[in-house]
């Protein structure tokens, strides 16, 4: 177990900078998830921690020891790859014990460790088989077993669940979290799936275009996003962004609707353009609210998602064009509803849970 300290790390290929100065502190035993859209540099950063990618600038330290020039084999880390990367010519037991055999560990010790890991992951009956004889989920478990057997300082996961089907993904999510609670090994986990990030992490690092947008606990990011990118990325369905301006004691949308604000933000200057951010579950029915036409109703059983088109005083009433689609809002209700497409509902956001963003910088006001 160990801490990992990433200081001002950069990565460039030629003149193209992929990672533009990133600093993260990972405590001993912490489960940290790097999340972001594809191409944001999260996998590259993980590979730099692993030593599979050279570091162009800054330092990576494991347990206060700078490892920039330490080869992967001497970093005492274990990595789980997206496509499992199991050695096809070795049995499951051989796959799991490969690292120990390289270190000339005693046979009895290897057997004990493999058995323990197999026990944790329920791989016992499969130890004599070859990877090609296993299903996707089993292979993924073997890849994790290979990491556990090592008893490394740090676990690295590179999108380990992306190749699994939806149901298995949820199950493995729980298993990985359980495994971490049991072993308490420092873990860095890369995913593009914000649900994985929200459900598993102690700490989430949201990355975008090679920089860190925000670091924080899952619910902290959800409740207090630092900017529009984080606000839009964390949470599903995504937060609604309504452009408009601050004026008087409230917010006026570009469509002409009035939305309420709490005292703390309405002190901002009058007429200033802003973006009103409200999560889909933070709308409620209100007689004095904005009028919107129901476009689509999507019941999931536990909740209902609705896509609405605000009518507004200035909004185009006839022929919904592309412009109007951008103005569509998502509303998530716990209750079931009899609303039909074409009906008009009146909804209002909960001002205490709404956010205001600067439309130019994207930062929260």
């Amino acid at each position: 177990m160990a801490s990992v300290s990433i200081r001002n790390v950069r990565k460039s290929y030629g003149t193209v900078e992929i990672i533009k100065g990133v600093s993260i502190d990972i405590q001993d035993g912490e489960f940290v998830i790097l999340v972001g859209p594809s191409g944001c540099g999260k996998s590259t950063l993980l590979r730099m921690i692993a030593g599979l990618e050279e570091i162009s600038g800054g330092t990576v330290a494991i347990d206060d020891r700078v490892v920039n020039d330490v080869p992967p084999k001497d970093r005492d880390i274990a990595m789980v790859f997206q496509n499992y990367a199991l050695y096809p010519h070795m049995t499951i037991a051989e796959n799991m014990s490969f690292a120990l055999r390289l270190k000339n560990t005693a046979k009895s010790e290897i057997a004990a460790k493999v058995e323990r890991a197999a026990g944790i992951l329920g791989l016992g009956p499969l130890l004599g088989r070859f990877p090609r004889q296993l299903s996707g989920g089993q292979r993924q478990r073997v890849a994790m077993g290979r990491a556990i057997v090592r008893d490394p300082k740090v676990f690295l996961f590179d999108e380990p669940l992306s190749n699994l089907d939806a149901k298995l993904r949820v199950q493995m999510r729980t298993e990985i979290k359980e495994m971490h609670q049991r072993l308490k090994t420092t873990t860095v986990y890369v995913t593009h799936d914000q649900i994985e990030a929200m459900t598993m992490a102690d700490k989430i690092v949201v990355m975008h275009d090679g920089i860190i947008e925000q670091i924080g606990a899952p619910l902290d990011l959800y409740d207090n996003p630092a900017n529009m990118f984080v606000a839009g990325f964390i949470g599903s369905p995504a937060m609604n962004f309504i452009p408009g301006s601050i004026g008087g004691d409230g917010f006026t949308t570009d469509g002409g609707d009035r939305l309420p604000l709490t005292g703390r933000v309405s002190a901002a200057s009058d007429g200033r353009p802003a973006v009103y951010g409200v999560r889909p579950e933070h709308f409620r029915l209100a007689d004095e609210g904005m009028a919107a036409e129901v476009v689509v109703v999507e019941p999931t059983g536990s909740e209902t998602q609705m896509v609405l088109r605000p009518l507004g005083s200035k909004a185009g009433q006839v022929g919904a064009g592309r412009e109007d689609r951008k103005r569509e809002l998502t509303w998530v209700l716990r209750e079931r509803t009899g609303a039909k497409p074409g009906e008009v509902v009146r909804i209002a956001p909960d001002p205490a849970l709404a956010h205001l963003f600067n439309p130019d910088t994207g930062l929260r006001l």
Partner: protein, 276 residues
Amino acid sequence: MSRPLRKLLDKAGMAVCVLLLVSPALLFFIWMLSLSLKFEIDNGAYPPILIPDRFAWKNYTTIFEGNSFLLYFWNSLIVTGAATLFALVVGVPAGYGIARMRAHKSAVVIMIARMTPGLSFLIPLFLLFQWLGLLGTLWPQIIIHLVVTVPIVIWIMIGYFETTPMELEEAAMVDGATRWQIFAKVALPIAKPGIVVAFILSVIFSWNNFVFGIVLASRETRTLPVAVYNMLSFEQVSWGPLAAAALVVTLPVLILTVAAQRQIVAGLTAGAVKGG
């Protein structure tokens, strides 16, 4: 047209096409077999006879009698065996290095060595071997067969190593393996089907090579193709023994290919990566 009939016609069409494509090689073999089992009188007969009334097994026994055939067989075995072994020892790591370092230029250089006509460097090499006192041994032929075998092995192995997933080696790297251990314990076992293919092609090309042998071999160091050629040159063309000798020369390569076919087809990498 009914469905079963259509299916049947499709199959028949396919069979005809396959037969047409394979027939040159197949008929050639059948005729060779026929020649080797006929007496000279039948071999020259018109219209040609495919299956004779009497089989001339004598053709096969004669090649093993007067011609030191076993010595030439042994020579061929040593030359091909040594040239292929050296080629694998050198070519497999070389192919790995070129594939991993993406050194495609050096691969092209090796290809050029292969494309140069053998005769252009045979004479200088002959003089060199003479000066080294190696003529009369099998060494000149072993060395010069490397010109054939090494490029084949390297080129096949480049292709093979390039398709093995990089993640496997990265996983080994993280697991604590050194460069050499990664090669020996991960890359090499996975490349086994590739090595088998390289081995077989190397053996075939070396075994059948004629030009190098005819220039460099003396009476005692002849390889099989040269020995077969020499059967032609005495007093008359005796088709029967010639065809029998040719078949015997081809047989080891044929058996090898058939035996190792399963190895070639077996996708050992299945299961390494998703869908792999």
